[in-house]
Amino acid sequence: MTLALDAPRIVQTRPLLQVQSVSKSYSDVHALRDVSAIAYPGEVLGVVGESGSGKSTLLRMMNLEETPDTGSYTLDLPDVAGNLFELDRFARRMLCATRIGIVYQNPHLGLLMKHSSSGNVAERLLVAGERSFAVLREKATTALEASEFPLERLDAPPIELSGGMQQRVQLAKAIALEPALLLLDEPTTGLDVSVQALVLDTLKRLQQDRQITMVIVSHDLGVIRTLADRVMVMRRGAVVEAGLADQIFQDPQHAYTQQLVHAKL
């Protein structure tokens, strides 16, 4: 994400997330081509691109759901070392269950639709080893409250909830364990515009209050503009442009980014 690698550096903080030169092909289709991404602690990295640009694949890799053909992935966390793509299934599961939160576009992927909403949040805590019912309940309630979920519906199953509420349950589940990294895959796509604004609002607030490092993937520039500090533009599996959010939106360099930005504005 740097303009010039030899530029003098001021910030000595190490990046929290570092994806390096990731490539992935499915049969003869290049899903990702030499993609790199960095996110510093507390910042929001936005990834934009149209459907099929590889942005969701990249996010799934960050959640260790997929392994690229080449490339590496590191997280600067205590007890986490080396290329995470080399971890075995068990280590991946534990890492994702405790350190990484994810909100999917489709709530069916992230939630047990017929369990209670609080139970969905409690599951994360159970995986992390919490065994007290009272504590589970309290922590699940706190997380749902932080996601601005109406607490009188605490035990309603997600299947009975609206799309916006389902996303809040997903969000509560994702933040229940105070993750180091929060991944958002089109979190507001498919919601009504007014509901979309409310969910974005919640995300923004959470980010301000907790300074969680986030990676948000969306084809919606408005969403990225609202949340992201830095933006990566992807097309056909490759990064076309990356930079500070205001620079990408005000002075896009690449023809594709210009087209994208101008189409929106």
Partner: protein, 239 residues
């Protein structure tokens, strides 16, 4: 006074791919600003005054040239620095006052103004006190302090914006027509605050449509009109 910013051979133009066109904004600009200096950017409409400010702030990427900024961490070329460094400098050393406030949902005016202080490590109660004082200086009514600026009028928003950007003395301050939508009282407060910051050692680069208010603060003028004499001393100001 030590130099804060050294701009050398800075050029910026825009490539409009869909029109296959290049639009030049300014070319080969060089100037420098020292601590406590107030620099006025001058030029006809479209001469690239705002563009230059945004380039210095890195909202725009320059095409050539060096922007040497003497940060607390040592000199750095803003034209080539890493995004994360720019973000850091924007939080700590470089302020930019635009005509618009980026209000955030459900954050009160006072919290918004106090934020730069809190990020700089000031305890929340003290930061809020100072924020309220700043809001008062700019003439924001006390009943609006705990309200959300998203609902404010343009003029009130701009006052909050100024209070926020100017609350923390920074090394370099970029002003893009900050007086545009202000009433007389707020303008006076702004000028007073700028004088204070200048005395404090802040280097200021500003674009003003009507620089009469700040005339007494201006040290030098840079004229961006093509083929104009690039730099003049304060005494030669002629509008």
């Amino acid at each position: 006074m030590p130099t804060v910013l050294d701009v050398n051979g800075l050029s910026k133009g825009f490539t409009l791919h869909h029109l296959a066109k290049e639009i030049a904004a300014f070319d080969e600009i060089s100037f420098s600003v020292a601590a406590g200096e107030f620099l006025l950017l001058k030029g006809a409409n479209g001469a690239g005054k705002s563009t230059l400010l945004r380039t210095l702030y890195r909202s725009y990427l320059p095409q050539a040239g060096v922007i040497r900024f003497h940060s607390d961490h040592g000199p750095i070329d803003l034209a080539r620095a890493a995004d994360v460094d720019i973000a850091h400098l924007r939080r700590t050393e470089i302020g930019f006052v635009t005509q618009f406030l980026t209000a955030r949902p459900r954050v009160s005016a006072e919290a918004l103004v106090a934020e730069p202080l809190r990020l700089a490590g000031v305890a929340t109660p003290e930061a809020l006190d100072r924020a309220r004082a700043a809001l008062e200086t700019f003439g924001v009514k006390p009943e609006l302090w705990p309200a959300y600026p998203t609902t404010f009028s343009g003029g009130e928003q701009q006052k909050v914006n100024l209070a926020r950007t100017l609350i923390l003395p920074q090394k370099l301050l970029l002003l893009d027509e900050p007086t545009a939508s202000l009433d007389a009282n707020a303008r006076a407060a702004l000028v007073a605050r700028l004088a204070e910051l200048k005395a404090h050692g802040t280097a200021v680069i500003g674009v003003f449509h009507h620089p009469d208010d700040v005339l007494h603060l201006i040290d030098r003028v840079v004229d961006l009109t093509p083929n104009a004499i690039r730099e003049e001393v304060r005494d030669d100001v002629a509008f």
